[in-house]
Structure formats: structure tokens, C-alpha cells
């Protein structure tokens, strides 16, 4: 008989990484709101940088992890890699949604328009569609191995957009500004803003790790229950 008894259910676990992530995110929001001055030209709208850019970084990281895990799964066929790819893609979609929501809210007061079909914005929207498609694909394929194989291929192909998105501000005429921190000549912001920026980067990266850990725990629990159903 297959044992359906699992380790502590994911819903009742208190992950220490999640706890640290929540504190770090609260600190980042607090510092950005109350302890970081607004920029003189853009005004308060510039503070959107502290939630927009880290979300974009985490989205790239998440889809990069999905692609790498998928690539390794194709060789190793290790179920843990597929769970990591699946979890990372889902969290990546959440962070890309944050990018696509905060971008227009920054664009309207600064550019005078919510949206423009330039390379950076359009490719980011495509990236979101690809990984939403990735998650839908996973949901409609019942066989675990076939699902992992197809998902790995889509996950790898989708991530090929990431370097184009990153380089789009150099390659194309675009409204989107060039990087203000990751520049060879150093950040073009005052130190107080740079510190907030890096705190937000750290906090949202930690939030990504926390989300992925919990999501993997759910996937482990789900797979064990599926195995028990099939095996029983």
C-alpha cells in the first residue's frame, strides 16, 4: 500500500526564509516611502523605481531558473528540477505582472502615456504571455514526464527573450530609460536612493526565494498525493 502520510503540510509550515523576506520587504517599502526623498524632476513618481526595477530583476531571475532547471531536467529527468522550474515560472509571472502594472503607473506621469508599443514594453508583455502559456500548458498535460518535457522546451525558449529585453534599450529607439544604477560609470542617483534601491533588490529577491520554497513544498505534497491516488 502506498503511504499517503507526508511531512508537515505546506500550509502549516512557517518558513524562516518567508519570515525574513516579509521583514525585508516591509523595510524596503518603509524606507522607500518615508526615508527616501523624491527626485527633483520626476517627483514622487520616481519612487516607483524601487518596486518596478527589482520586480523586473526577479522576473528575469525566475525565468532564468525555469529555463536552467528545464534544461537540466532534459538530461537528468529529476522530478525536483521540474518542480523548481514550475514553481519559479509561477512566481516569475507574478513579478512580471508587477512590472507590467507599475510600468504604466510610472509612464503616465513621466512620459504622458500609460503604454507605448516600444521594444522594451512589448517584449516584456510577450515574456508574460509566454510564461502564462507555460503554466497553462502544464495544466493541460496529464502525464508527468511528457508535461515536464514540453514545459522544459517552452521554458528554455521563453527565456531567450530575456537578453533581448535587457538590451532593447540599447538596440532600439525606446521611451524606456537606460539603466540608472547598473552602469559602467556608476549609479547616477544619490547614495540615499541607491541604498533604497539595493535594499529593495535584496528584499524582493528574498521574497522570490520564499515564494518558490513554499510553492515547491506544495508541488511535493501534490505529487505525493497523486502518486498515492494512482498507487492505491
Amino acid at each position: 500500500m502506498t503511504d499517503v502520510s507526508l511531512t508537515a503540510p505546506a500550509s502549516r509550515r512557517l518558513d524562516p526564509v518567508a519570515l525574513v523576506a516579509v521583514v525585508a520587504v516591509a523595510l524596503a517599502y518603509g524606507r522607500a516611502i518615508w526615508f527616501t526623498p523624491p527626485e527633483a524632476t520626476q517627483g514622487f513618481a520616481q519612487k516607483i523605481l524601487y518596486v518596478h526595477a527589482p520586480a523586473a530583476w526577479v522576473a528575469f531571475l525566475a525565468f532564468g531558473v525555469t529555463a536552467l532547471s528545464g534544461a537540466f531536467w532534459l538530461f537528468l529527468k529529476d522530478q525536483r528540477l521540474d518542480r523548481l522550474a514550475e514553481s519559479s515560472a509561477e512566481v516569475g509571472v507574478i513579478f512580471t505582472t508587477a512590472v507590467l502594472v507599475t510600468g504604466p503607473l510610472w509612464g503616465k506621469p513621466v512620459w504622458g502615456t500609460w503604454w507605448t508599443w516600444d521594444a522594451r514594453l512589448t517584449l516584456t508583455l510577450f515574456l508574460w504571455f509566454i510564461y502564462v502559456g507555460y503554466l497553462v500548458l502544464r495544466g493541460v498535460i496529464p502525464g508527468r514526464e511528457q508535461r515536464a518535457r514540453y514545459a522544459a522546451v517552452v521554458g528554455i525558449l521563453g527565456a531567450l527573450l530575456i537578453p533581448f529585453i535587457h538590451l532593447s534599450v540599447y538596440l532600439f529607439r525606446t521611451l524606456h530609460p537606460l539603466p540608472v544604477v547598473a552602469r559602467p560609470e556608476g549609479p547616477s542617483m544619490p547614495p540615499v536612493m541607491v541604498k533604497t534601491f539595493f535594499l529593495a533588490f535584496f528584499a524582493f529577491t528574498l521574497l522570490y526565494v520564499a515564494f518558490v520554497r513554499v510553492r515547491i513544498a506544495l508541488a511535493v505534497q501534490r505529487d505525493a498525493l497523486d502518486d498515492a491516488t494512482v498507487g492505491g
Binding site: V4, I48, P109
Partner: protein, 45 residues
């Protein structure tokens, strides 16, 4: 300096809602899995 604080407040509120909503969805999925596990266990005893 332009008066556009509303946009940044909206952006911060939207991201917070998004992350809290996702955290809630993880919690609810975990609870649903625990119930499913309980049902499977009860069905076997």
C-alpha cells in the same frame, strides 16, 4: 516638483496587493492539499 504622488501610491498598493494575493493563494492551495491528504487517509482507514 510635479505633483504625482498618487501614481506611486497606486503602484505600491498594487504590488503589495499582488504579493499578498499570491501568498494567500499559496496558503489556500496548501490548505486544500491538506484536506485532500486527510480525505485520502480517512478513505484508507
Amino acid at each position: 516638483m510635479p505633483d504625482n504622488a498618487l501614481y506611486y501610491r497606486l503602484a505600491y498598493a498594487a504590488t503589495l496587493l499582488l504579493y499578498l494575493g499570491y501568498a494567500l493563494s499559496l496558503y489556500l492551495r496548501g490548505r486544500a492539499l491538506s484536506r485532500r491528504e486527510q480525505r485520502q487517509r480517512d478513505g484508507r482507514t
